[in-house]
Symmetry: D2
Subunit: 379 residues, 4 copies
């Protein structure tokens, strides 16, 4: 078969966990789903476990595998480094990739501290390459519709935001300690879940100027992993609530909890404007609830189903209502990344944006600790 005349884009993926495979699927599916302006090549996969790296490379269609991620980064055929390792490795890997002049696609959160995030952003600026961070929920076509409605003024002036990202995977006090329970690994409900919601709030409404917050560790100790009878102390937040003041004048509330029983992926928000209201829940990711101020007695919240009228949907399915899944949001994220690499868009959260998300999360932490309003720009 003839070779494509498009330029090659060599992907190097680090990590073979849930997110590693999600990236692999997303690269494959972006290639099959969209007419990309590059010849996307799954060039190399790295995992510290050489056998696993090789096994996954074969199963996922990568040409090469590495036990040493530095080899992957230094391979000249790798143009883009995708990082899906535990949080504390994001910084060293991204710094190395940027140093080597590679574009970087890093899972969220960007870093385990604001200082790290600052350093990574500086390195990205210096390298002058494209970076993207995996706040995948904002690539949902129906979220794109929400953003269009907000930006076009369809809801009037935006005046309120109520957001909550709750799950229950730590709801059982016997759920064991894990690295997510360590501050040093960017653990806690705020970092793990809340940061997604903060990124979404910024994506839809822009800058947040000041915050006041309340954080709590409900279960101060948890069993060690692996059925050990030992108890480990927990220092990170189980739940965090905040008041938000947006630069555009909107006010609102924020919540994140990993103790809220019944919720599995409840990234939800409601945005109020002077002419309408919209709400969304990631647990029904193909629906947007919209109210437009209208004729009394005939008005009501409308339930809009995802469909091909929203950018990005049609490539997966020509018919509305057929439902995208979580993994397809990653595919859309990869498409946006490729488009950015080809200069077709500047959309999508890069290291600069991810730094702002970290700054905001840090401001919330300070506000909760010091029990006072905090101006985000002061941290």
């Amino acid at each position: 078969m003839r070779q494509s005349s498009l330029p090659d884009l060599g992907i190097g993926l680090i990590g073979t966990g849930f997110m590693g495979r999600a990236h692999a699927l997303a690269f494959q599916n972006a290639r099959t789903t969209f007419d990309l302006p590059v010849n996307l090549k799954l060039h190399a996969l790295a995992d510290a476990d050489a056998a696993r790296a090789e096994h996954c490379a074969r199963a996922w269609g990568f040409d090469h595998s590495h036990a040493d991620w530095q080899q992957l980064i230094s391979d000249p055929a790798v143009n883009l480094v995708a990082i899906t390792t535990p949080n504390h490795l994001h910084c060293p890997m991204a710094m190395a990739a940027l140093e080597a002049g590679k574009a970087v696609y890093c899972e969220k959160p960007l870093a385990v501290s604001l200082d790290q995030a600052r350093a990574m952003h500086s390195a990205a600026v210096k390298a002058g390459v494209v970076t993207r961070v995996g706040y995948n929920y904002q690539h949902n076509p129906i979220i794109g519709l929400a953003r269009n409605m907000i930006e076009s003024g369809e809801l009037g002036q935006i005046i309120s935001f109520q957001g909550e990202f709750s799950e229950d995977f730590m709801g059982d006090p016997q759920s064991p300690w894990s690295w997510r329970c360590e501050q040093a690994h960017a653990g806690g409900a705020l970092a793990d879940l809340g940061s997604h919601l903060l990124a979404m709030a910024r994506y839809l409404l822009g800058d947040i100027e000041s915050v006041c917050a309340d954080s709590q560790t409900v279960h101060a100790q948890r069993p060690a992993e692996g059925g050990s009878p030992q108890q480990r102390k927990i220092a990170v937040d189980d739940q965090t609530y905040a008041l938000l003041r947006f630069a555009n004048g909107a006010r609102g509330t924020f919540g994140s909890s990993w103790l809220k029983h019944g919720y599995k992926n409840h990234l939800s928000f409601e945005i109020g404007g002077t002419r309408g209201t919209l709400s969304f829940d990631q647990e029904r990711l193909n629906e947007l609830r919209l109210y437009r101020a209208g004729a009394p007695g005939r008005d009501g919240f409308q339930q809009i189903l995802a469909g091909p009228a929203q950018p990005g949907y049609a490539a997966f399915c020509p018919a509305p209502g057929h439902q995208l899944g979580y993994n397809e949001l990653k595919t859309l994220e990869v498409r946006a990344l490729i488009q950015a690499l080809c200069g077709q868009t500047s959309e999508g959260p890069d290291f600069a944006e991810a730094l702002e998300v970290e700054r905001l999360a840090t401001a919330i932490r300070v506000a909760a600790k010091e029990m006072r309003w905090v101006t985000v720009s002061e941290v």
Copy 2:
């Protein structure tokens, strides 16, 4: 027909607006629906408009009418004074009734200032009579079920509360000024709507110890009433958001807005415990949403319909799922009041409780104004 051997209870009702009629219906329906321990007599109805007072008295089944509410209070056959007038009249009427040794059933909010509320509470203590305030939403049988679940420990330790009471009746910037826009009449979204939610939060979870808050007047002026071209300045809040810390350790968020398009009676909350979650929305007042931590993969939020298994429901309908309406919550409120008068219960929000609600609302106002955390007991 033989006369009842039960003692008479003479009702004197002041006010003939929406709430006046709601009370009249509630008294009638309580009599027909429940086996009350008194012979409930609709004795007198007062309205400053004598003709209206007489017309309504006849239509609503009252024996007498008055243009002067003080005559109603001084009538010895009146045992209970029900007050449904505009907010600023609650205090003088209740004070007069208490002075006369009458039981008082006052619409919410109790008063237009914390000082007034304190004076009314003192007078009630001194009079030693039964008082009740119209926080009717807590008489919903399914709210009773929610409270039982919380008190019995079915949800475990309560750790979170997210509540919002939003409507949209002031959502249009052209909605005219009314007395509800005056602080001196206990206007604003916090007083008008939020106080219901604060009363509900206290009913379900008990004392709130400290608050931080943010209030905003979005539309700083509105047209005067009656189509006048004149604009009036607005000083009360259009929306107020707060963080709450409960005495039982729970943390959470609070919101009230009368600008939230699409909502008509959205008194809603979600309460999280260490073993389950429940949520409620007054716009579906016959439903409770409940999640009990259970077997993974078979668990899910349950939608419980109101029915005769919940105290108070069966008197209206022997079959579940047939739906109570807003007015029937008033009927249940009247039943609780009668039971209190007969010493059968001490349940129900009295002036002492309503004072606590006012104190809490005031703390939220102070916190918003001074942009700091406020201990409720300090106000």
Copy 3:
């Protein structure tokens, strides 16, 4: 107090069960809620148990009580006879009332056989009085909105109807036999529940021309009442399904079951037109779900809340979203009845209409028994 100058309308109510009290409440509330063109007097209440009749008369505000319903009918001060007794008594009572020239308000179903229904209709025609039958669900203001939408052509030409009325009160095979299990008392799911849905279908879409159906007795025997170990044979249907062809060309399905676990009052339907769809469920009686064909990608089902824009609602509450209850549908039914008595409307299901409902139910029974399509006019 001055007497009203309006003409008196003396009510005579027979029966003191759930429906008896529902009627009493409805008469009282209609008087208080609406400006009726008559002076509605609760004149007499009859129950075979004299003591109960007297007790209820006092509690419900009736002036007189009777153990003998014939005395009630013959009382010249009684203008309207309301019948809430078990089904097999509807016919003799209504016939006597009509014979006496009284208006009749009879609970559904009209009769226990088609022959009875025919006789009652003939008597009503001969008497020339107003009759009404308690298909109360159609008095819901939001159902009125639905009907307006259909009649105004807002949904285009109506082409489909899917309706189901299911409950689960006989779902447990150990639920004992009752008179509702006897054909001779108009028992079975079709008569008890389905007739409400047939009345609703006719109210909204008009005549049904032909039907095909399938009926089943799932639990062929049930325990006798009162904990008796004896089993009784059951001959009536537990569930009935049908195909419907409407005179207006619409096609659809019908279901009624008293075995459908989880449903408590699931009178539900969806009506499809060439320009839109609407659906309703009595378990959320204050909501109408509406879809209007519109711009792709921005359209979706709308959830309309009951409110004062719909005729009849405002009298109960000036604010939308505050929810009417089941009992208030009876109040609206009484208002329509009074208006009919005063010649202000001819709306509302009378004996002629109730006869058509019985004819339709009979056609469904014949179709099920003979396993063939049946033209409704042939029965």
Copy 4:
């Protein structure tokens, strides 16, 4: 990289439309998502348009492309032939593949006539190979849970089925004629949509013994394609409704319409048992609604979210509530197909099962045409 020691399975895919790409994605994703017992090779892709075949082959990762599908079938490296062409081509392609001894994976409907379906089934039996038909909705993990509940007796004896598959893509009378409007291409709402629901009903409840039905062509003509002013006559059904009698004794209703405004993929059903009820709607494909008969007053419908407790889900995402999409149902379908090819399962609809679905659809057509009950085995 070392080669896999697993046996190769060469895929030959015919068709490059929406379904062709869906198959390509599904094969790729099955390889990456599951540990398959074969080395799945995307060997060849065929499309009558040679350039398109080549373009798609490259984009989708196939090694070869063909303009002539017969070449694809005769290629010895092709073990499995996947057919995604228009319906009338299913038969000749499948017959050729079976003749060549290849396994066949054919999109639904199997054929454009019952005779064709019979011939294809006979050929499959003679060839002795694995066949599968694309009734993908039944591969949804939460449908698997539903089936387990039914088979385990958790719902008791199954007594009712209400199902409807409605969409609105032909709802506008100006939606033009297409091949889906031709009987000869297995057009009409019953064949296009209804057959999915019939397959689902059989998957969950087994054989259907007899049917009665009503079919209607609402819009008897439609514009020709491409903006032509010409009108074309339409003979296929716009909506079909039926009564169903299952071999297990359950009774119920069936509906399919492509005119039902507001619905985009409303494959929905409710199944009633003597101990519970479950319902499902493909427009919320990650949810199952379940009611288990329980303690009065605490019971209610439960909303179960898809999650890793259900077979097949975890491979896509380790966390519940993250939502699978439509395309992932195809991936699960491919996994079941591969497992069948490896003798690991006999599950999944094969040509024998698809023939039964065609027989059932034919029985419904006969019943509608002759307006009588039809025993399915008689057609």
